[in-house]
């Protein structure tokens, strides 16, 4: 874990670089939603590239940004030419996991076919839905939600999910801090100029 100040600094640098790239390319005035999208995307990508593609979430973030056709161009602009390797790494990584996962799922489904389940149901009568299983289900539900929140979380197991969440939270914090600072600075300046 790096020092937070250097992290924020690098994030700010990346972000401004990205913003500059997409800002200079689209000189025409845009709608607020487009701008917002560009800003958000650039912030996210800056965050991911600050992490340098070493974690799953950052790779997934970049991959998601470049998967969507509309944002792909923007993402490419933001990421710029020097981060091709990063993008490659990120684009190759998730599908491999994905396919393996699907295959393993299929195997799993095939192996525990209907009769196994029936047997289990017979073995466990309805009344014994103990607190343990309820708690397990609750945890499972929340884990799934968390998986949907963390980019690339669908492909992680429990341990790595928590690790990635840790990392992701740290970076999100930095991102929010920097963005808030910039926003407040902008506000101050606008107040002064008015």
């Amino acid at each position: 874990m790096r020092h937070p100040s250097s992290l924020k600094q690098e994030f700010l640098k990346n972000w401004i670089l990205g913003l500059q790239r997409c800002g200079f390319s689209s000189k025409k005035s845009t709608s607020i939603m487009e701008r917002k999208k560009a800003i958000k995307l650039s912030a996210d990508l800056a965050m991911a590239s600050t992490r340098n593609g070493t974690t799953c979430w950052s790779r997934a973030l970049i991959a998601n940004a470049s998967r969507d056709h509309k944002s792909k161009i923007l993402a490419e602009q933001i990421l710029g030419p020097e981060s091709q390797s990063l993008k490659k790494a990120s684009s190759t990584m998730p599908p491999v996991i994905c396919s393996r996962r699907i295959r393993s799922k299929k195997i799993l489904r095939r192996s525990c076919s209907s009769h196994v389940r029936r047997v289990r149901k017979i073995a466990l009568p309805q009344k014994v839905l103990s607190a343990n299983s309820v708690a397990k289900r609750l945890v499972q539900k929340r884990t799934n939600i968390l998986k949907s929140l963390v980019p690339g979380g669908e492909y992680m197991d429990d341990i790595s999910l928590i690790e990635e969440t840790l990392d992701y939270i740290a970076y999100l914090r930095a991102q929010v801090d920097v963005m808030r600072c910039v926003a407040s600075a902008t506000k101050v300046v606008n107040q002064n100029s008015d």
């Binding site: 020092h3 100040s5 600094q9 401004i16 607020i32 560009a38 968390l146 600072c181 926003a183 902008t186």
Partner: protein, 472 residues
């Protein structure tokens, strides 16, 4: 079993000629036919080849240790074993140890009597049983020497827990169970005892022994090598009393421990999470926090988009509107005589420098935040710079929260006039960590400015200009 045998054979193929090995085998075979106890219940299922192999294996283990004594033992664990064996040379010591162990009573008896008097047939059967058990983990011995003691430990535990033994063997492949640190020593003792006994039983077969001995040193080396390689793969799990020790529950326990450890870190990271117990509640909190952060990002990007009519937002519009001379600004700052202001100025410069580097469009005249009109108002200054300072996003080591910073900055520090009039900021004595930090940052920023692949022509100029202005 057969596979293990073949592997073992392949291992020795390098050392012995086929003929030698065959003769050794034949001799072994004969010996075992002579010794009826070897063909007893323990070896019932084994078959001829299997029996030969088992005997073989036992001898190998004996000689492994001898070879280790000879070579000195590169590996730590094996070296330990050697020292153990040296300690346990005399039968009395062996007996004492076993008595201390308590649970190895049955093999103890057998071993002892066998060691002292070459044993009756029933005792021999027992030892043979032990040997067979040790050799039954032969594939693992070949694959990993670390697993070796485990399989053997399970052997003297007794016949009553054959199921447990199986489980232990399974664990050897994945997880090494350490019930207690003492256990290992026990195991080693037991192993040594066994090896001794097998030695004694094999005194008759000297030729075979010699052959084996030739190969044993090599195998021991190989084993030690293998153990060195294999060692990091094992996860040491400590099973407490009454806990399950089969591989699945052990792995599950490891997993759970890992998760709870990470959860602790998360608890520290997520505010308001340290009071909650239970995984579900913590996950709830984490989810809320992540969501709130993500929403904040959304909101802030929206805000920025709304504030800035163009995408390359904050720069030209941001600073270009009021181009107050830097020097004027600094003078007015200086006249306030506030250390916080000084710092603020530093940060401001930094901020501007960064932006200037990024955006050459505004490099012609050094832009500053239009503070000049409010400069005379100290109250404003005390409040506002904090925000702007915070907005730099560069002093993050210092500001855990805006409030703290605000306090720090608004705290007026009287500084001598000379200090204020120091010609350059970089010469400021590092009165606090801020200065050092900032100087570092400044340097860093300059370096970045030069190294980045930016439209560099207007850039260096701007940097130099700012440099000049920095030094005023």
């Amino acid at each position: 079993m057969n596979r293990g045998f073949i592997q073992e054979e392949m291992l020795h193929c390098t050392d012995m000629t086929v003929l030698e090995r065959e003769t050794a085998r034949m001799k072994w075979h004969q010996d075992q036919q002579q010794q009826s106890y070897f063909g007893g219940t323990e070896f019932g299922g084994g078959g001829g080849g299997g029996v030969v192999f088992q005997g073989h294996e036992g001898h190998h283990q004996v000689q492994n240790f001898q070879g280790l004594v000879g070579t000195g033992g590169g590996d730590l664990v094996l070296g330990e074993m050697v020292s153990q064996s040296v300690k346990v040379v005399d039968a009395a010591g062996l007996k004492n140890r076993w008595a201390e162990l308590g649970r190895f009573e049955l093999p103890d008896m057998g071993f002892e009597s066998c060691g002292l008097v070459n044993g009756t047939s029933s005792e021999f059967e027992m030892t043979a049983g032990a040997i067979s058990r040790t050799s039954s983990c032969a594939p693992k011995v070949v694959v990993a020497a670390v697993a070796e003691p485990k399989g053997k430990v399970s052997a003297p535990v007794g016949k009553e827990s054959s199921k447990k033994r199986k489980a232990d063997k399974v664990q050897n492949t994945q997880v090494v169970v350490e019930d207690e640190p003492k256990d290992k020593r026990k195991k080693l003792c037991a192993e040594d005892g066994e090896s001794k006994i097998t030695e004694q039983t094999s005194t008759k077969n000297t030729t075979a022994d010699n052959n084996n001995r030739e190969s044993s040193s090599d195998t021991s080396k190989e084993n030690s090598k293998a153990s060195e390689v294999q060692k990091p793969d094992y996860i040491h799990v400590r099973a407490r009393r009454g806990q399950a020790t089969d591989s699945h529950s052990l792995a599950e326990r490891v997993r759970r421990e890992k998760i709870s450890e990470r959860m602790k870190y998360l608890q520290d990271l997520v505010p308001g999470c340290n009071k909650i117990t239970g995984k579900a509640g913590m996950l709830d909190e984490i989810i809320n926090y992540v969501q709130s952060l993500q929403r904040q990002v959304e909101f802030l990007s929206m805000k920025l988009a709304a504030v800035n009519p163009r995408l390359d937002f904050n720069i030209e519009d941001f600073f270009g509107k009021e181009k107050v001379n830097f020097k004027q600004n600094s003078c007015s700052f200086g006249s306030l005589g506030n250390l916080g202001v000084q710092h603020f100025l530093m940060l401001l410069i930094l901020f501007l420098l960064q932006y200037q580097q990024m955006f050459p469009a505004c490099s012609t005249s050094f832009p500053t935040i239009g503070m000049s009109s409010e400069m005379t108002n100290p109250a404003y200054l005390q409040f506002n710079p904090a925000q702007v300072v915070a907005c730099c996003g560069l002093e993050m080591g210092i500001n855990s929260s805006d409030m703290a910073l605000r306090r720090a900055i608004s705290a007026p520090v009287s500084i001598p006039e000379t200090y204020i009039d120091t010609p350059s900021f970089t010469q400021l004595p590092p009165s606090s960590t801020w200065d050092a930090d900032l100087q570092n940052l400044l340097n860093l920023e300059f370096h970045q400015g030069r190294s980045t692949s930016f439209p560099s022509q207007p850039f260096t100029g701007s940097i130099e200009a700012s440099n000049l202005k920095m030094e005023m």
